[in-house]
């Protein structure tokens, strides 16, 4: 039978006494898992400190309103917006701000209905699911289509704003998208920008950071570069970064995937005599076969080679 008289904070995992050591451990973990992204890490550290101080204040009877933690992540493709949002739910849970610490990721389709009267229940249902955790709206600017004045997106935006304002302690909303389009979205919905306390801009990665990201990805996939491959990959990145449609970490991942393909077809020819070393080592040839090395300014924008 259900426990009749439970304490109001029924979730046992919430850390109500996050100490400085916990926060330091959390930030160290972030540093290990995320390469670069200094402004993002700085903001997370600030939020962690704010929440800890708020709790200390509450212990002294200095009650204040819970801080609004709605965020907006902007940045170029592949700079880690979605990755950080996924981590954010866990982080806020560990800091004792969000009660359940789950993440509900949605796009326009999940919020906006197809006919009149369909949008509000749909949006409300998503909001109810996200309560106690984080609602992540990817490419939020699609919610609002200025070219169609009868677009139902506006209705979803209004409900969202209302809940963001009135139920701050129940859920955290994170918007993500490319910077220029987010700016245009906020211009059309000024109420949105002012209700979001944290606008975080994700910088592009430098080449060194991309190399470290590649190393992390390779480690997770169970491969490694030999010396020649490392140098070749550095040269590859240099050229690839200068090309149009460069998508930071995503391009690196795609490049690595294509190198795995070349590596596989090379090893496959002599699969019988391949030892463990051959199976995990990428060599310079796997990289140099890329289209990027063919000719400078060949006019192609196709990155899938």
């Amino acid at each position: 039978m259900a426990a009749l008289v439970a304490s109001p904070s029924a979730s046992p995992a919430v850390a109500n006494d996050t100490t400085a050591a916990d926060i330091a451990a959390l930030l160290a973990e972030l540093d290990r898992e995320l390469v670069g992204l200094a402004p993002v890490k700085k903001r997370i550290a600030e939020i962690a400190a704010l929440l800890a101080v708020d709790r200390a204040r509450a212990a002294h009877g200095l009650a204040g309103q819970p801080p609004g933690l709605h965020m907006c992540f902007t940045g170029n493709p592949g700079t880690g917006k979605t990755t950080v949002a996924m981590k954010m739910a866990g982080i806020l849970h560990r800091l004792g701000y969000s009660r359940k610490g789950h993440l509900v990721a949605v796009t326009r389709d999940d919020l906006v209905g197809q006919y009149i009267g369909h949008t509000a229940p749909k949006t409300r249902e998503v909001l109810k699911r996200a309560m106690g955790g984080v609602l992540f709206i990817d490419e939020a600017y699609y919610l609002y289509r200025p070219e169609n004045e009868r677009d139902y997106g506006q209705e979803a935006v209004e409900i969202l704003l209302q809940v963001m304002e009135n139920q701050r302690e129940d859920l955290v909303v994170i918007l993500a998208g490319y910077r220029d389009r987010m700016e245009r979205f906020f211009e059309c919905n000024p109420g949105f920008a002012s209700r979001i306390a944290h606008h975080v801009d994700f910088p592009d990665y430098t080449r060194e950071e991309l190399m470290r990201i590649a190393a992390l990805m390779l480690e997770r996939m169970g491969y490694r570069f030999d010396e020649g491959a490392r140098a070749a990959f550095e040269r590859y990145l240099e050229r690839r970064m200068a090309r149009p449609h460069f998508a930071n970490a995503r391009s690196v991942r795609n490049a690595l995937d294509r190198m795995r393909l070349r590596h596989a077809s090379r090893v496959f020819e002599r699969l019988g005599e391949a030892d463990r070393d051959a199976l995990i080592t990428l060599v310079a040839d796997d990289i140099l076969a890329s289209r990027v090395f063919e000719q400078e300014g060949g006019g192609t924008t196709d990155e899938h080679r």
Partner: protein, 139 residues
């Protein structure tokens, strides 16, 4: 006469904190919680009106509490109950159901005696409030 239906009905009405704790328990079990209301409180009336859809995939009680409050506000002088449905194979039924709202004035039930063949007596119950048309009861 105080209606006693569902779990906890012989206890004093649950407070907001207690309702929340119950809902948290239900969600922790993975049950889908729904809110229903009626103004026909006959014990055999199993099918109440749904207030919105059953809420699947919720993690936190805040969303349910919001629905409960909205329903209590809209149907302040009706009965409101919270159901928790367990979809586990073998159960597939409501596991917990309890009242969260009742009208201020509950007139109780009439016992009807009907003469049947021979000297047989048949008994039936009828809420006094049910004499008035739906929507005007308990006003």
């Amino acid at each position: 006469m105080r209606v006693t239906q569902g779990a906890f009905s012989f206890l004093p009405d649950l407070t907001g904190v207690q309702i929340r704790a119950q809902v948290e328990y239900c969600l922790a079990q993975g049950w889908a919680v729904s809110v229903e209301h009626t103004d026909d409180i006959h014990p055999r009336n199993t099918y109440w009106e749904m207030f919105g859809m059953p809420m699947f995939d919720l993690r936190d009680a805040a969303g349910v509490m919001q629905e409960i409050d909205a329903c209590r506000k809209t149907f302040a002088d009706e009965y409101v109950r919270v159901n928790a449905f367990d979809s586990t194979r073998g159960w597939e039924t409501v596991r917990l159901s309890f009242l969260v709202n009742r009208p201020a004035n509950e007139p109780g039930f009439r016992l009807r005696r009907t003469e049947a063949e021979g000297r047989v007596q048949r008994y039936s119950l009828e809420p006094y409030a049910a004499e008035r048309p739906p929507g005007e009861r308990y006003r």
